[in-house]
């Protein structure tokens, strides 16, 4: 999952980024509204954490512009405590949730998970296909209720596929969401094949019934019941 954090306080940006990275999110940061919009319109994000007070272009303007362009990425607004008017304005402009400053990291993480679930029409924090359950909260994967030991990148890849169930995802797309910009997508698309192979082995899906190879395109998590 790829997240963009927009805040003019570099320390806070880095702090949030650090914790999200520990949670295996792919994180980018932006210090002002203009850079934020540039990134939003060119890179695929799964979620944006947006502060209201920003130089160049404030959070409302950024939000207004991206919703105006029809970008439906979930947005979590950060507001100073007690600004009821701001909260209302933000939600009216199309923010999906808000969080008071100062906030606890646990709450931020919970809200991010909730927003990701909501945007992918999930009801619980567990993503289940067949006999595989991915708990996005505890980051534990079980196969027939038995925990499976996955590497952080294997988990992220599986999580991304499960969130986008029944959609064929190209390797380059997966590379961007799971590894981010710094890596070469060509090298990473090879890397993805390796990860998928390992995942199938660990999840006893060598036949590729759940993690389906879509000829030429990439992969898809197929949920027959959906």
């Amino acid at each position: 999952m790829r997240v963009l954090i927009v805040d003019d306080e570099p320390e806070l940006c880095e702090q949030i980024a650090l914790i999200l990275r520990q949670q295996q999110y792919t994180v980018d940061t932006a210090g002002d509204g203009v850079v934020a919009l540039e990134k939003i319109f060119t890179d695929p994000y799964d979620l944006i954490v947006l502060d209201i007070m920003l130089p160049e272009k404030n959070g409302f303007a950024v939000l207004g512009e991206l919703r105006g362009e029809g970008v439906a990425i979930p947005v979590l607004m950060l507001t100073a405590k007690g600004e009821v008017a701001n909260r209302v304005k933000g939600l009216d402009l199309g923010a999906d949730d808000y969080l008071h400053k100062p906030f606890s990291m646990a709450e931020l993480l919970a809200r991010i998970r909730a927003l990701l679930r909501r945007s992918h029409e999930q009801i619980s924090s567990s993503l289940i296909i067949g006999n595989i359950r991915v708990d996005t909260n505890t980051r534990i994967v079980t196969l027939d209720d038995q925990p499976v030991n996955l590497t952080p990148k294997e988990f992220s890849l599986l999580e991304f596929l499960f969130y986008n169930r029944n959609r064929a995802i190209s390797r380059f797309n997966m590379a961007e969401h799971v590894w981010g910009d710094a890596f070469d997508p060509f090298t990473m698309s090879n890397n993805i094949d390796v990860h998928i192979k390992n995942l199938r082995k660990k999840l006893d899906d060598q036949a590729g019934r759940i993690i389906v190879t879509v000829r030429g395109v990439g992969y898809m998590a197929r949920d027959e019941q959906a």
Binding site: T42, K153, D181, A182, F183, D184, K197
Partner: protein, 465 residues
């Protein structure tokens, strides 16, 4: 020939010419002058002698002793109007000298040593400077032939010529030395300008030559150079801005194109040939997208991006990047070994250093061979204090020695034909080099037989040291 030497030569030649003219004047003037003095002296002698003689004759007395003594330093003969000799000095009685009447003095050389006329013991042959005067005393005409022994003026003139020659030499030497110093002084501002201009490179285009403000030619030159640098810097910035803007403007349509392409590919009923075409297009588009991203990154780095430095462990950073590639390396049966001298804490821009490691490791994997090896080593640099060296060696195709210097160039690939097979934007190493330079470090690439390629990144430890 260097301008300094040329100026010295010109100054010296000018000095030599003027000194030579001066010397010639002095020399010839020095040759003439003694005779002029002699002439005057002899004339006075001739007159006084004749005066005295006529006074004595008038008094009817014999030639006085006074007169004898008075004239003992001179050769003198006085004739009356009828040509009879009325007086001969002591010297004149010893030696005869030819008489050549006229206004000019003349020299008569003898073989008699000079010492026989004077008390000094000079045995140089005597030469006489003669003058013949016609003197009229109270109506009577007399002819006075007066001469004086002179030292050999040839010897004198040789001596003086030598003297003048020495002086000339000394003066030329002085002119050469002074000329060299003066030339140096004249050229010092030029050298200063040269030094400063050499310091201004593509990377330091904002530097300027300080102006003295005295509006002289050198200052004007410096001013013109500065103007040129202004224009250069402007066009450089324009170019970089253009790349940045173009890349940015390209990103949006590429993203839109990719989204629609991916959406089309979701259609399971797409005919196979069409699907294959779309896949080829997606591949090409991803390449373009990667290229544009790299261009944007590079132009940001070129526009001297500020470093956000923090203190972190280089060892941990490398380990985390390696973890991202671990599965891929295992799949390709690559053996990775690393060797680190402790945590290797440095103070640098972590995200950018991460980029260095990612790009280098990506290369090491991409150009490797199945079953190959990658070795990583982090250690204090041998190049100097406060430096850390990250050494990444891999087996594989290796780099041709001719290509080695150029691998950091933009879009340079060692094997043109295999470029697409290996993927990549051709900008990875250029970005690496720029980040290393921004940190004040250096990067080298060497090949070690057989087929080993070694990249060594040297970075300053920064505040952490």
């Amino acid at each position: 020939m260097k301008i300094r030497n040329r100026i010295t030569l010109w100054i010296s030649l000018a000095g030599l010419a003027s000194s030579a003219v001066l010397s010639l004047v002095v020399f010839f003037w020095g040759l003439e002058t003694p005779y002029e003095f002699l002439d005057q002296e002899l004339e006075i002698r001739a007159h006084t002698l004749t005066d005295e003689l006529t006074r004595e004759q008038a008094e009817g007395g014999p030639v006085a002793r006074d007169l004898e003594r008075f004239s003992h330093l001179y050769w003198a003969r006085v004739y009356d109007a009828e040509g009879r000799e009325i007086f001969a000095s002591q010297m004149a009685r010893k030696i005869a000298l030819p008489m050549q009447p006229g206004d000019q003095g003349y020299l008569v050389r003898t073989t008699i040593p000079l010492g026989s006329f004077y008390s000094d013991e000079d045995d140089e042959p005597a030469a006489f400077w003669n003058r013949v005067f016609t003197v009229t005393v109270s109506g009577a005409r007399y002819q006075a032939h007066v001469a004086r022994p002179v030292e050999s003026l040839v010897g004198e003139s040789i001596e003086s010529a030598i003297m003048i020659g020495c002086a000339l030499l000394a003066s030329v030497l002085t002119v050469v030395v002074v000329g060299y110093l003066v030339a140096g002084k004249i050229l010092r501002p030029v050298q200063e300008i040269n030094r400063l201009t050499a310091e201004i490179t593509e990377k330091t285009l904002e530097k300027r030559i300080p102006l003295a403000g005295n509006r002289d030619e050198i200052d004007e030159l410096a001013g013109s150079l500065n103007e040129m640098f202004n224009r250069l810097q402007y066009s450089f910035l324009r170019q970089k801005e253009f790349v940045a803007n173009a890349s940015h403007e390209l990103k949006t349509p590429i993203t839109l194109l990719r989204l629609s392409m991916e959406e089309t590919l979701q259609d399971e009923h797409l005919p196979l040939p069409l699907q294959d075409q779309l896949l080829a297009q997606e591949r090409a588009l991803t390449r373009i997208s990667q290229l544009v991203k790299s261009l944007l990154d590079l132009s940001r780095l070129e526009l001297s991006e500020v470093l956000e430095k923090e203190t972190f462990s280089l060892g941990e950073l490398v380990a985390s990047v390696v973890a991202e590639f671990q599965a891929l390396m295992q799949d390709q049966h690559l053996t990775f070994t690393s060797q680190m001298a402790g945590a290797c804490v440095i103070h640098a821009d972590q995200e950018k250093v991460r980029r260095i490691v990612i790009n280098l490791l990506d290369n090491a994997i991409r150009y490797n061979q199945p079953g190959g090896e990658i070795r990583c080593r982090i250690e204090p640099s041998t190049a100097g204090q406060g430096l850390i060296a990250l050494r990444l060696a891999n087996t594989g195709v290796g780099i041709n020695p001719n290509d080695r210097a150029r691998v950091f160039d933009q879009f340079y690939r060692c094997e043109k034909s295999r470029a697409t097979a290996h993927g990549g934007s051709g900008l990875g190493l250029t970005i690496v080099k720029r980040i290393v330079e921004l940190h004040g470090g250096s990067i080298t690439v060497t090949s070690e037989a057989p087929n080993w390629t070694v990249f060594v990144v040297t970075l300053p430890l920064g505040r952490a040291s």
